[in-house]
């Protein structure tokens, strides 16, 4: 077996970087929800795909730029996220039970998507799909670059918000100890609704980015659950940058494995790495 060329390795790593960025972007809202709202929101994936389908529909019907659809889609999902969290708050749903509730929501959304758009594959046609440019010997496709850019921007923005603004501090305080935070004037209920809405809006953004690069089918919702959960848990719950970093680590390690040996071995590298990391330095994970 010939050694792979540097270009091959670099191109593969780049490919892994892009798919990892998408894992991180999808995982961003999921991790925030789990860490700060104590809700394991399986419906996050359903929101992502519902947004992707809506983007597809809007673009197919009106021909506008896919990224512009966010003007309509993001607020819509913000509202949906608030509504779902209102339900969780109203019934004081525990984290474990939230998994069950959101699973139910996912089933309903999946059925709805299939009822409207059929089970068949849908591919968004846009001018982004063909766009790419060259960076030295490497090819950089534009839709993936947009996804990476969005993922980086949003992750850093949320990180900055949580760390440096009063709002962020209030959110973190409320997550750590809600009654005490309330004693300090933090309106935990309103903040939680805002955060839940934001997480759903983040899911919508991830969905639009997903639609730029991937073909959609209702059953695909579950195809992402395993790896995104892994990225979120690895990156740390409630972390803004963690899922992105973890997602990229997973994506790049799998891509490099595929470049060097039989691609079917790819999952073993990333997940063995993960297991080793967990056992040796769990606090760092």
């Amino acid at each position: 077996m010939t050694l792979p060329s540097a270009t091959l390795l670099a191109q593969s790593a780049l490919s892994g970087l892009f798919v990892g960025a998408l894992y991180g972007l999808i995982g961003l809202g999921l991790g925030l929800s789990w860490g700060l709202l104590r809700t394991i929101n399986l419906a996050h994936f359903a929101f992502t795909f519902a947004a992707a389908y809506l983007c597809y529909q809007l673009v197919s019907s009106t021909g506008i730029d896919p990224l512009l659809t966010l003007v309509v889609i993001a607020p819509l999902f913000f509202a949906l996220g608030c509504a779902l969290h209102w339900l969780v708050q109203r019934f004081e749903v525990t984290p474990l039970n939230s998994l069950l509730v959101t699973f139910g929501v996912t089933a309903i959304i999946e059925a709805g998507i299939q009822a409207i758009w059929s089970a068949d594959f849908r591919r968004l046609e846009s001018h982004y799909a063909q766009a790419k440019f060259k960076l030295g010997a490497l090819f950089v496709p534009v839709p993936e670059l947009i996804t990476l850019g969005v993922a980086l921007a949003l992750s850093f923005a949320i990180w900055a918000l949580l760390k440096h603004t009063d709002l962020g501090k209030a959110l973190r305080a409320a997550a750590l100890d809600a009654p005490i935070a309330a004693a300090f004037g933090v309106n935990q209920r309103v903040l939680a609704l805002l955060l839940a809405g934001t997480c759903a809006a983040l899911a919508a953004v991830a969905g639009v980015c997903l639609s730029l690069s991937f073909t959609l089918a209702p059953s695909q919702i579950y195809a992402w659950v395993g790896v995104v959960f892994a990225a979120v848990m690895m990156g740390g719950l409630g972390s803004a940058l963690g899922p992105l970093v973890a997602g990229i680590v997973i994506g790049v390690s799998e891509a490099l494995t595929m470049a060097v040996t039989a691609p079917s071995w790819a999952p073993i590298v990333s997940f063995t790495l993960l297991i080793a990391l967990l056992l040796v330095r769990p606090e760092k994970a």
Partner: protein, 399 residues
């Protein structure tokens, strides 16, 4: 005595009318055909085509008078893309719903489950989408998909023959495949065939089904510079690979995909020239027969109405239609609903279908290998080899 005579006559009349009533009743009790399909779950994208074809066929069949003069009722259940559910539902169809006849489900896994059940109850099972002939060990199962009994050998040979017919036998080949059971063995068989026919393998890659990132794989193919790429792809894999190759500005001179999801591939602008195999496409000569013409027209109408992205009849729909044709032919040929008789008839008779005349007397009840080579040309699938079924004037185009 008048009374006794009258009594006897009345008894005779009563008996006759009872008989007539039973006869009429039998005439109007529907023939119930049961099957499952993956109406939800990962396989639902393709299964809905089979649902549509079944509905169309049963409708048209009933317009023609049904089976044996009785209306036909198709009971279809959702196996949720799970083989264990499929197994249980076929048991329900046979033992609880007591259907008269069975029709196969979608895809190899579910068909194997259904086959096991059919075998235990000695029922005929006609199926349309089974991919591994040498696992079809039940003698009363019959395939509508004319894969031939040894597709691992015949399909690659056909592909190479097609290429040779336009003088484009490749010198080097890259074999890349998913490990999905029903096509993995085809790709392994292809490696053997290529070796035997002197085509040098420059790359062999396998990926797990469900892989999302095809970037590294595309990069390795580009690096290997093959004349021909054999892609063991099913569903969206093919599209993902084409997209990934396009992203690094690579377009293989010749590429072949085993079981691509037909709609997405034909719509992708980068898939121009992609090869695959087919038993039927919606163009002459195969669609010229009246039955085929009517079917393709009806299918297009109904698919459009159902908002399906792909409205042309191709392999999946054609295999499904064939399966129903086989069932109808067997029932009409034996004038009965007895599974033993139907199976015996199918083994000894040829059935006229939209694929052509099919026989079922080969190994595993497979007959001729009718896998023709098709190519994406100008956004359409056109059969290009062999010449007798190719689209008029169409030739295998090489870049």
């Amino acid at each position: 005595m008048t009374c006794c005579f009258g009594w006897r006559r009345r008894m005779a009349l009563a008996a006759l009318s009872l008989l007539a009533a039973t006869f009429v009743h039998a005439q109007t009790t529907p023939v119930r055909i049961g099957s499952t399909l993956a109406l939800t779950g990962p396989l639902s994208a393709t299964a809905q085509i089979h649902k549509l074809v079944g509905e169309i066929y049963v409708e048209q069949l009933n317009k023609r008078g049904g089976l044996l003069g009785r209306p036909v009722e198709w009971i279809v259940k959702d196996d949720q893309s799970k083989p264990d559910v499929a197994r249980t539902l076929y048991e329900q169809l046979i033992t609880a719903d007591k259907v008269d006849l069975l029709m196969g489900p979608y895809a190899t896994g579910a068909i194997l489950s259904a086959m096991g059940v059919a075998q235990r109850y000695d029922k005929l099972l006609i199926h349309h989408t089974f991919g591994i002939p040498n696992l079809a060990k039940y003698d009363k199962q019959f395939p509508a998909w004319s894969l031939g009994s040894d597709p691992g050998n015949t399909v690659p040979n056909t592909v190479l023959d097609a290429l040779a017919s336009v003088g484009k036998t490749p010198k080097t080949v890259a074999v890349v495949t998913s490990k999905f059971p029903s096509l993995h063995f085809l790709s392994l068989g292809a490696r053997e065939v290529f070796k035997k026919r002197g085509v040098q393998e420059v790359l062999f890659l396998e990926w797990e089904f469900g892989n999302r990132d095809f970037g590294p794989i595309a990069a390795r193919i580009k690096d290997a510079k093959p004349d021909f790429v054999w892609v063991g792809a099913i569903g969206l894999d093919g599209n993902l690979l084409i997209d990934a190759m396009k992203k690094i500005d690579y377009s293989p001179p010749l590429h072949f995909y085993v079981y691509p999801a037909p709609g997405p591939m034909v719509k992708s602008p980068d898939a121009e020239g992609a090869l695959s195999v087919s038993i039927f496409e919606d163009h002459p000569p195969l669609n010229a027969s009246p039955i085929a013409a009517e079917f393709t027209r009806t299918f297009r109408e109904r698919a459009t109405k159902a908002n399906l992205p792909e409205t042309n009849v191709e392999v999946q729909a054609a295999a499904s239609f064939t399966a129903w044709q086989m069932l109808e032919a067997a029932v009409n040929g034996t004038k009965s609903l007895d599974d033993k008789a139907l199976a015996a008839w199918l083994k000894t008779h040829k059935v006229d279908t939209i694929q052509g005349k099919l026989r079922f007397d080969g190994p595993y009840n497979y007959g001729d290998d009718l896998m023709h080579v098709k190519q994406v040309q100008n956004g359409r699938w056109l059969i290009v080899y062999p010449a007798d079924v190719a689209a008029p004037g169409a030739k295998l185009i090489v870049k």
